[in-house]
Amino acid sequence: MASTFKNIFQTCFILRNKVILQSAEKTKLKTISVYSNHCLSFTRCLHNPRELKKFYKNATVVSADGWFEINLDRKKLRTPHGNIFKVPSEPLALAIATEWNSQEKLVNRHTMHLTVLSNTALENPTHKTREQLTSNIIHFLETDTVCYRLNEPPELEKLQKTKWDPIIEWAVNRHGLEITPTYSMAPPIVSPESKEIVRRHLLSYSDWALFGYHYAVDCIKSLLIIMALVDKQIDVDTAVELARLEQEFQTKKWGSVEWYHDIELYELRCRLSAAMLFVHWCCESTTIKQKATLPSF
């Protein structure tokens, strides 16, 4: 029974044909939509798989077994694999509910970064272990944005020095890293000890926070800026500005194009702030748990 519906589901999805939709009996369609509960509104989805109309009025937060779930009207929000969506921290759940509430006529899933991050952390679709995640993050240190410098034009060289050097200085003082910027094609010099320090630092984070960390580093291709940001030395706007330093220098000279530069700027800010909130809230919850489990002396 289930397999036949699965077939119908697949063919419908591949062909995206209205005729099939119309020929399918209404009762069958209902059963399909129950079966494929991972696609919250399947029949609407079929019409145009990219668009999902807003099918609920209100998103609310419910707590269950120490986790927080999202209710869309009376239905539970589910992950892409059909499991119940849940997050470990209350503020994170509230922010995700706000994300769903802020949708107007259509549900733009690509702008809901906190939901996407939680889905990734819940289901781990790429099956990454903690070690793989940390080594992926450390990989960015070997080609860190703030370590690739330019000699000309001289104004840009000066700008990079004044803006990027404090970040490296901070990393050297705070974590004792040894890292030398490069002015050529050769990658910057990072000592193996520094990598080990960063690895130990990263492994102190919870699994969920590591997913957020990876997302943040992947956005702006710089581990040092993200480390300073997580440590609250700089804010998100500054971090994005540092990451797009050369581009900003060039747009000041040659003019900025709104439909490219501004969209990119806001998108980076969105992604980065979402990742930061995610890391913060996921760390916070783990520290609270640790306190609760302390044995009484």
Partner: protein, 125 residues
């Protein structure tokens, strides 16, 4: 640091955090479109956090910085999501152009196409 100076910097910090709170309230109001914001759980949570950290903020402890940094990050998230949506909606493509309008772009006009109506009308003329 003398006392007057200290008071001044404290006032500045307090006004900064109030500004953040107000901007957060504005952003949330844009989303929820309700008159009574106290009914919205997110706003109630934000206000509670601000109230909790108001006392410790006087002592400049770490949690204050954390709370304020977090509030600013959330504000940045809400603001930039809204602006990003607005700009991309403004520049979003409206689907494929028709042959006529694409010809128009380069200053060309299409010849009149044959249709039965015009064919029927023409002998009358």
């Amino acid at each position: 640091m003398d006392l007057a100076n200290q008071n001044e910097s404290r006032d500045k910090m307090a006004s900064n955090s109030y500004r953040t709170l107000r901007s957060l309230a504005r952003e949330l109001k844009l989303i929820y479109k309700k008159k009574d914001m106290c009914e919205v759980p997110v706003y109630a949570y934000v206000q509670e956090q601000f109230r909790n950290f108001q006392v410790t903020g006087e002592k400049m402890c770490r949690a204050r910085q954390e709370a304020e940094h977090l509030a600013q990050t959330y504000l940045c998230y809400l603001e930039s999501t809204r602006k990003h949506e607005a700009i991309s909606a403004h520049y979003r493509g409206k689907g494929e152009r028709s042959v006529e309008s694409s010809a128009n772009i380069v200053g060309l006009k299409l010849p009149k196409l044959y249709s039965e109506e015009t064919a029927q009308k023409s002998p009358e003329h």
